[in-house]
């Protein structure tokens, strides 16, 4: 079967298929670039897997659609990145998504955090979208043409995700007493996982120019987030900082059950095509 489903009337089709130019342009990544693409692809896939749960459970129909749309964008980014990451070792995006065990995943803990209530999901989105927006903005300058092309496509979509999360942070923080209480809780529960996003692992030293140095993003991410928190009359949470370790394969307790669900059907039928 073709990997393409053409349907003009359908607005989401371009996110369903791998962008042809990306597939063709992709030279095979070096081992280190492949590992870096895995970091980014795993972050997006894990977040999309979390967000997909909301469909048919969101507080209003418009949010079923919005969260579904965001998840769909993120799966698109994950597919491009995993496709690129796998080429080096002869593995497909699905080999990587369905046949790696937990220690082989590279997602940061933020993305693995459970949906919680809507305020937790929004807090996670707020941090994630700001981080991803600055990351992809910088990655567009990568010396690696494939990463730069993926980033150029992703940054436009992540910009919308960022806007969506900002609107909700304001509504929840300044809405009712209850929503404010929940927003404060959500933000303080998710904030410990911010720090890991800015940690430079040794891999980054070997990818000068190709990868974005995580520590270099802190200034821009904070400069974008803090004024929103100020407008929402929210303090920047202080307290726990998670030691992270996702890039080295040390994960939060949430990833295992998530992978069990994501992989269960594929693993029940080794070698099957879908």
């Amino acid at each position: 079967m073709s990997d393409t489903i053409e349907q003009d009337a359908h607005g989401h089709v371009d996110t369903i298929q791998l962008s042809a130019e990306l597939v063709e342009a992709a030279s095979v990544a070096s081992h280190d670039v492949a590992e870096y693409a895995l970091w980014l692809g795993d972050d997006s896939l894990v977040l999309a897997q979390n967000l997909g749960w909301w469909i048919s459970r969101a507080p209003e129909l418009e949010e079923d659609i919005a969260l579904g749309n965001i998840a769909l964008d993120l799966i698109g980014h994950a597919r491009s990145l995993l496709h690129y990451a796998g080429a080096e070792s002869g593995r497909t995006e699905d080999d990587l998504a369905y046949w790696r065990d937990e220690p082989q995943w590279r997602s940061a803990h933020l993305f693995e955090q459970p949906n919680g209530d809507f305020a937790h999901t929004i807090a996670r989105q707020f941090i994630a979208a700001h981080y991803l927006f600055e990351l992809y903005s910088a990655l567009m300058q990568s010396t690696d043409a494939t990463l730069a092309a993926i980033a150029a496509k992703a940054v436009k979509e992540v910009d919308y995700h960022r806007d969506h999360s900002i609107q909700w942070v304001l509504r929840l923080a300044l809405g009712t007493e209850e929503s404010r209480r929940r927003m404060i809780t959500g933000l303080s529960d998710l904030w410990p996982f911010v720090e890991e996003l800015f940690v430079d692992e040794p891999l980054i030293d070997r990818l000068e120019g190709a990868a974005v140095r995580p520590s270099s993003l802190r200034g821009a991410v904070e400069a974008a987030m803090f004024p929103v928190l100020a407008e929402a009359e929210l303090d920047v949470p202080r307290g726990f900082i998670s030691s992270g370790g996702g890039r080295r394969g040390d994960h939060s307790e949430n990833l295992g059950p998530m992978l069990a669900e994501l992989q269960v059907l594929a693993r029940a039928h080794p070698g099957a095509k879908w």
Binding site: M1, D3, I5, Q7, A9, H10, H12, V13, T15, I16, Q17, L45, Q49, G52, W53, I55, S56, R57, A58, P59, E60, L61, E62, E63, D64, I65, G68, N69, A71, L72, I75, G76, A78, R79, L82, E93, D94, A97, Y98, D117, F118, L170, R171, L172, L174, G175, T176, E178, S179, R182, E261, L262, V264, L265, A266, H269, G271, A272, K273, W274
Partner: protein
């Protein structure tokens, strides 16, 4: 296709009692033109449309659940993306349809209340469970396929906002049906376990899909009036017949067996003969005694209840912003 004789929307013997606005409505219907929200319309027409459109909207919303069930477990990333897009489309269809119903003077809040209170109907088919991945194929192929047969004629429904919503919905539904067919095709070309999964799913969904067209014509009390008002264009049995005629060659391509031993081509009739539909089951599920009725409504109610504080926050924030804008 033959259309049974239908009664006039009004009794011609009482023409003297017809007001000018009613006459205008009757003329528009007679000319097969569109009725728009600001036009005068008989109460019965308005009520029929509100019932039909809101039931359709509820069906889209409840219909997100059997497929939503597999988003987290979809067996490839491509399938996950397609399924996510499809379920998201259904939410979008629900939105257009609620909006179309709102133009008739009912609020979305009231429709939602009716749904979660169990007072409103939605398509019975969504009260069946989706235990296997193959159900994503069978739902697309059979359930969306039946929906298309029902809905394409609705694009010409006399009520403008409904007909226009249906045009957009039908385009997306044809994508949905095709992706369902593709899922089944891939399974039927796969391992013995995959083929078994596909056939089992077709066995479970075939008869409920045929029931989606509603009771037989001689037991469908509202049909004649809906046809007179140009809301409904073809009878339940005609549409069902058309659907089966479409399925048989597709089943052959797939290599699945349709679970009806009496299904065979009738040369004389130029159409397929089919076995008896179990209407007892249909009425049982409709009456709330299907396999997943309680579960479907509970999920909807939970989402509504747990989202209450979020909707309140959004409303409070909007009110504060409005005050600020005035100040």
């Amino acid at each position: 296709m033959t259309i049974p004789p239908v009664p006039y929307a009004i009794d011609p013997d009482n023409a003297a009692t017809v007001s000018a606005e009613e006459q205008q409505f009757n003329d528009l219907i007679a000319a097969d033109s569109r009725i728009e929200p600001r036009d005068w319309m008989p109460d019965g027409y308005r009520k029929t449309l509100i019932r039909q459109i809101s039931q359709h909207a509820h069906s889209e919303i409840i219909g997100m659940q059997p497929e939503g069930n597999w988003i987290t477990r979809a067996p490839s990333l491509k399938r996950k993306a397609i399924l996510l897009a499809k379920v998201q489309d259904e939410a979008g269809h629900g939105l257009y349809l609620y909006s179309a119903a709102q133009t008739l003077g009912i609020s979305r809040d009231l429709m939602t209340e009716q749904l979660i209170a169990g007072k409103a109907r939605y398509s019975s088919i969504f009260n069946y469970p989706s235990p296997t991945w193959a159900d994503m194929g069978a739902i697309g192929w059979l359930v969306d396929g039946a929906a298309i047969c029902n809905q394409v004629p609705l694009c010409r429904a006399s009520y403008g906002p409904y007909g226009r919503a249906m045009v957009r919905i039908c385009k997306e539904e044809s994508f949905h049906q095709r992706q369902g067919f593709e899922i089944l095709l891939e399974l039927m070309n796969g391992t013995p376990a995959q083929r078994e999964m596909a056939q089992d799913s077709v066995n479970r969904w075939y008869w409920p899909a045929l029931q989606m067209f509603g009771p037989p014509d001689d037991d469908s009390p509202n049909s004649a009036q809906s046809m007179a008002w140009n809301i409904k264009r073809f009878s339940n049995d005609d549409l069902r017949q058309r659907f089966v005629g479409m399925l048989v060659p597709q089943a052959e391509v797939l290599g699945v067996t349709l679970p009806d031993p009496d299904l065979r081509w009738n040369e004389e009739k130029g159409a397929y003969d089919m076995g008896e539909i179990d209407w007892t089951e249909f009425h049982e599920v409709l009456a709330g005694r299907g396999p997943a009725n309680a579960r479907r409504l509970q999920r909807r109610r939970d989402a509504h209840d747990e989202g209450q504080w979020v909707r309140e926050a959004a409303a409070a924030y909007a009110a504060k912003q409005a005050v600020k804008a005035v100040a």
